[in-house]
Symmetry: C2
Subunit: 259 residues, 2 copies
């Protein structure tokens, strides 16, 4: 694949990591767009690109336009793109490919399935990238590009992708919230939350070898009513945690009885 | 610390890993007890110990008796121990030290905070071990023993330990159930669940650097009502997942608004 000239629309966590991965493969980010010019400038400065906050001033000479903004504004951005003969891809898990104007010649999705924070390096080679496009040629183009930055590239249609994104919400956002709850519970004991780190890591790493069904342990699985009662009492001052506790405990018990 | 002679009461996942870690430090497991003689025999054979399923036949010559049975039967086991001049410790997160007969001279808790499966090796050096005892001398004894097998030994009283155990239920059992749900959602798409492995690992590893509050991302945090609505629709055939989704989403939103 030749060196591509790319315009990055968006300057958030994903735009940041994706731009870095692309420039490391010798592609050129011509320009970074963000509604907030300072955000565009910060990312642009790091990858030798120009910055703009005016969508009308997007560089028309790029080989590819990547839309890496939050899900809610993708449709607005697309509406404002005044070219239909360019190659354009969005990067969102939950947004259908049909968000694109069908008059566009080449449109698609380039969805990296990972959680990104600016302060944390990610090895992009290990990030699964999900590809979809409106025609085979552009799908191959996106596939080849993804293959350059990742060892894990998947052809995933919009129906599959929305379910995948939903399951990622459970496996990432909701899991992280349970870490938050665990930390909150520990905070009253003066024990450092770090004491839970090995357990948290092992819980994740176990999954590489064991199915989550086989990996399950604990009082809910054993239907250990005494522990369950004690836990609910301990949570009496936080009814929201009590409710989460009850609901997940009931579902663990049911799923492991039934399946 | 001299080589100890130990009786292991229990032959489950924890007894298995703990016995291995202790024998690797040249302590001797004299005997393994389990209600099921075949379970006792399997573990005993691996560590050169004798096996029994008769609690009256416990070897009286041991320096330490470790009770590694499930929480619910610890009290029953202790009732049946017909000696009070021995050193005894249980290994449960959720059971108070007061479960012991106060006539016992030395009793305590030796709680490894980790999830154990027989099929998976655990580096015991990284497992936090929580120690508590009825007197300082025995506490020091347990502390020194724990230090031999782990680099992470903590003095934790029963009140702290029950909260710690509760937070471990959130961070391990409940997190694992969310992996289960994620897999269940993906199963209808024909996409291999492995596609979520990098996200699951990164979600856990991120915590070593970032507080769970800073690490949170996703539609609940952004209050992205369109994504939330779409997700609830996708879950319409599984009301139990819908209920979990709503409850955790609401709590993410509230906690990040309020704190």
């Amino acid at each position: 694949m030749n060196k591509l000239k790319i315009v990055m629309i968006g300057a958030g966590n994903l735009a940041f990591h994706l731009s870095k991965a692309l420039t490391e493969e010798n592609h050129e980010i011509l320009q970074v767009y963000s509604r907030t010019i300072s955000s565009a400038q910060i990312l642009a400065a790091q990858i030798g690109a120009k910055a703009t906050s005016n969508i009308q001033l997007l560089d028309k000479s790029a080989d590819l336009y990547i839309i890496a903004v939050s899900d809610m504004v993708i449709a607005q951005i697309i509406e404002q793109l005044d070219f239909s003969n360019k190659k354009v891809a969005h990067t969102a898990g939950s947004v259908s490919i049909q968000v694109f104007n069908p008059e566009f010649k080449n449109f698609g999705v380039f969805y990296p399935l990972q959680t990104f924070s600016k302060s944390r390096n990610v090895n992009f080679k290990e990030v699964p990238v999900c590809i979809e496009a409106n025609n085979e040629q552009f799908e191959l183009f996106l596939f080849d590009l993804a293959k350059q930055i990742s060892d894990s590239v998947w052809r995933i249609n919009s129906d599959q992708r929305k379910k995948l994104h939903l399951s990622a919400v459970f496996a990432n956002n909701f899991v992280n919230h349970l870490y938050f709850v665990a930390k909150d519970i520990i905070s009253s004991t003066n024990i450092d939350f770090k004491i839970l780190h090995p357990l948290i890591l092992e819980t994740a790493h176990k999954l590489l070898e064991l199915d989550p069904k086989s990996a399950q342990t604990g009082p809910a699985l054993r239907n250990d009513s005494e522990s369950l009662k004690k836990h609910l009492e301990l949570l009496s001052s936080t009814p929201e945690y009590q409710a989460i506790y009850k609901m997940i405990t009931d579902d663990i018990y049911l799923k492991h009885k039934r399946l």
